[in-house]
């Protein structure tokens, strides 16, 4: 199907409306020279992805993204930036010099081309089947606790470990520094 037909379907317009800002925001995340802005741009991208999930009918995932990412992770990032007193204003030295940037750009662009090419080669014009209804959250829940209970438990341990370990590392323990520093 050609571009015309593609544009004739409304969802695609919606898609474009969401996707293009996402790409722009994504670019800013890696390009902007302001730490805080970068974080906010990331938020935009994630929000976009959430929107896309709703578009394809994966509500639960979408809301989780909003909750976990925008609700927690982003805040975490902001805290991190605050605590480490990273420059809140513009900081041109936020990225490596141009030489590095160019080579990195080449690498990632080639990566994009190869992967994208492979995708087109693989799926061509295959369309996502029109889903009768969105995936029911209940269904997700059932699967989660029957089929995927093990990973669920595991991930809980991951989080616990991250939490406890994070605290231990991040906290200032008295006098540890100088004694340890010697070793």
């Amino acid at each position: 199907m050609d571009l015309g037909d593609w544009l004739s379907t409304p969802q695609n317009w919606v898609f474009l409306v969401i996707a293009l800002p996402m790409l722009f925001a994504g670019y800013k995340v890696v390009a902007t020279s302001n730490v805080v802005h970068a974080v906010l741009y990331l938020m935009v991208t994630l929000a976009g992805s959430a929107a896309l999930f709703i578009l394809v009918g994966a509500e639960f995932v979408a809301w989780t993204v909003v909750l976990v990412y925008i609700g927690a992770v982003i805040v975490l990032f902001l805290f991190g930036i605050m605590i480490t007193r990273a420059p809140l204003g513009y900081d041109v030295s936020l990225s490596h010099p141009l030489r590095v940037r160019i080579s990195a750009a080449v690498v990632s662009f080639v990566l994009f081309l190869v992967v994208g090419g492979a995708m087109i080669d693989q799926f061509g014009n295959d369309a996502i089947p029109e889903a009768a209804d969105a995936t029911r959250t209940a269904q997700i829940g059932e699967l989660m606790f029957e089929r995927f209970v093990i990973p669920f438990e595991v991930v809980s341990v991951v989080l616990l470990a991250a939490l406890i370990g994070g605290i231990v590392l991040a906290r200032r323990d008295p006098a540890a520094d100088d004694t340890e520093a010697v070793r």
């Binding site: 190869v114 992967v115 090419g117 492979a118 995708m119 080669d121 693989q122 799926f123 029957e146 089929r147 995927f148 209970v149 093990i150 990973p151 438990e153 595991v154 991930v155 341990v157 991951v158 616990l160 470990a161 991250a162 406890i164 370990g165 994070g166 231990v168 590392l169 323990d173 540890a176 520094d177 100088d178 004694t179 340890e180 520093a181 010697v182 070793r183």
Partner: protein, 507 residues
């Protein structure tokens, strides 16, 4: 739903142990009790492993031994392979804890949390051995890796340790992302997260460009875990910077976890895609062996040397995968290759743990890991020097110490195919093992042949560090005994490897 709790018992016990450790820590008793609890838990975990393994000889056991216990619709399987590797993980973690106790206590570290994290990571490894779908595999892998990021930085005051943690972390998350991207593609193309499903689809449709990318990304994600060249860069720094027991843990458990991923994916999920992973791992094996060995020759720091040595050993462990490049490799050959990898992993675990045990003992005594400072060790610490020689000779693969058999099965697996490429890999491996002899011998030489450096008066060394923690002594005894017995009776370990190879069946 009805779950086969017998099959899950090891995970359950281990999970409870993890929590128990945490609780003990809160109780505010002497910290090393947490370690004791952890050790006890690990020990307890062995029991169900045995009952599962020796099932038919036990009356209460319903299913015959070796039979696959398929859980959760095939996303979680308890078979001989997973049992053997769980045993390996639990055992090596046990040793790792033994190594830690003295070290951690002395260094004023956060003990309870330390053991908690180690055990959590081990828990992940154990789960990994049974994972048969991408989700479980990924999550388990993250559980293995996550805590190790933190543990690498456990020597909080030491910038080197911090560096180690950060480097490890950044490379880790990057490769995790790559891995995930690959998994997503594999899932998308094959339409299933389950190994069985993936295999079925590939069997029917063969591969495609996108699938190739997916598979490669996935495997490369694991290549990072096993620190195969060129994904090894983090290894030496992290090994050197992290607390040495953590290094030991990384070099054995977390590395082996990576190999488990490679094994299950290659021989099950991507069983039909041999022409993809065969060449890939062939290349990685050749690179890892060669680069790892050549660089190790130059090392002056013993931990760093072990880092490169473990890269090289990783290469040796990868060699059997190279069998897959042979188009006419029979199912038998592939099973042999699988057997070889598993056997190598088992022996490697024992001897590498032993090597690190000695290094920790020496570090504890000399407060240095410079090989030059270890000169003349035999004059004031003959026992330690002897053990050093023992384990390094084993790593070098000199009969009659365990290592030789690992190398042997490795050679055997690739030579058996009679394929040009496979044989070429064998020859590369031979030359590399000769190179390896040199730097392992160098350490032995320095410990035995060289005079004590003037800087350190031998008298001081004599009384210094006589207090090897009992746990460390225990670890040394276990590993030393292990390498000797396995050296003379490699049949014991070969059996384990033999039963494990069922996973590779059905080619």
């Amino acid at each position: 739903m009805n779950v086969d709790y017998h099959a899950l018992l090891p995970e359950i016990i281990l999970g409870l142990t993890v929590l128990a450790v945490l609780v003990t820590d809160l109780l505010g008793v002497r910290k090393h009790w947490t370690a004791v609890v952890g050790l006890a838990g690990l020990f307890a975990t062995f029991v169900p492993l045995l009952t599962l393994g020796l099932c038919e000889s036990l009356e209460f056991c319903t299913e015959p031994a070796g039979a696959q216990r398929v859980l959760f619709g095939g996303s979680y399987v308890v078979d001989t392979f997973s049992l053997v590797l769980k045993g390996l993980f639990v055992g090596s973690t046990f040793l790792a804890l033994l190594l830690s106790v003295g070290y951690i206590e002395e260094g004023r570290y956060w003990q309870g949390e330390f053991y908690f994290l180690v055990l959590a990571s081990a828990f992940g490894a154990v789960v990994m051995a049974s994972s048969r779908d991408l989700v479980t595999l990924f999550v388990a892998l993250e559980l293995v890796t996550g805590p190790t990021f933190l543990l690498a930085g456990w020597r909080k005051g030491d910038p080197r340790s911090n560096e180690a943690a950060l480097k490890f972390f950044i490379i880790g998350v990057l490769s995790a992302a790559i891995l995930l991207f690959g998994m997503s593609l594999v899932y998308g193309v094959s339409g299933s997260v389950n190994f069985g499903g993936i295999r079925a689809w590939t069997a029917a449709n063969g591969d495609s460009a996108l699938l190739t990318i997916g598979v490669l990304f996935t495997l490369l994600g694991f290549a990072f875990k096993v620190s195969a060249v060129p994904f090894h860069f983090w290894t030496p720094d992290t090994y050197e910077g992290a607390p040495t027991p953590v290094t030991a843990y990384l070099s054995v458990v977390s590395k082996t976890a990576g190999f488990v991923g490679l094994l299950t994916l290659s021989y099950q999920a991507f069983a039909e895609l041999r022409d993809l992973w065969g060449p890939l791992l062939w290349i990685l094996a050749a690179l890892s062996m060669t680069v790892g060995n050549i660089i190790a020759v130059r090392q002056e720091d013993i931990v760093r040397l072990l880092g490169y040595s473990s890269i090289a050993q990783g290469g040796f462990i990868l060699v059997p995968f190279g069998v897959a490049v042979a188009a006419d490799a029979s199912a038998d050959d592939l099973e042999t290759a699988f057997f070889a990898t598993v056997t190598y992993l088992l022996i490697y675990a024992v001897m590498n743990m032993g090597a690190f045990a000695v290094v920790i003992a020496g570090e504890n005594r000399l407060k240095s890991t410079k090989i030059a400072d270890w000169a003349g060790l035999s004059t004031y610490a003959p026992g330690m020097a002897a053990l050093l020689a023992l384990f390094f000779a084993s790593l070098a693969g000199i009969p009659p110490i365990a290592g030789w058999f690992a190398k042997f099965v490795m050679f055997a697996s690739v030579l058996g195919v009679g394929d040009g490429w496979a044989t070429a890999l064998a020859v590369i491996a031979v030359i590399n093992s000769v190179v390896a002899f040199y730097y392992y011998a160098r350490v032995i030489k320095s410990a035995w042949f060289d005079p004590v450096p003037e800087a350190i008066p031998a008298t001081e060394l004599k009384d210094m560090g006589q207090t090897l923690s009992p746990s460390l002594r225990l670890a040394l005894v276990i590993t030393a005994f292990g390498v000797l017995v396995l050296g003379f009776f490699p049949g014991l370990i070969a059996e384990a490897g033999d039963v494990a190879k069922t996973v590779a069946s059905g080619f």
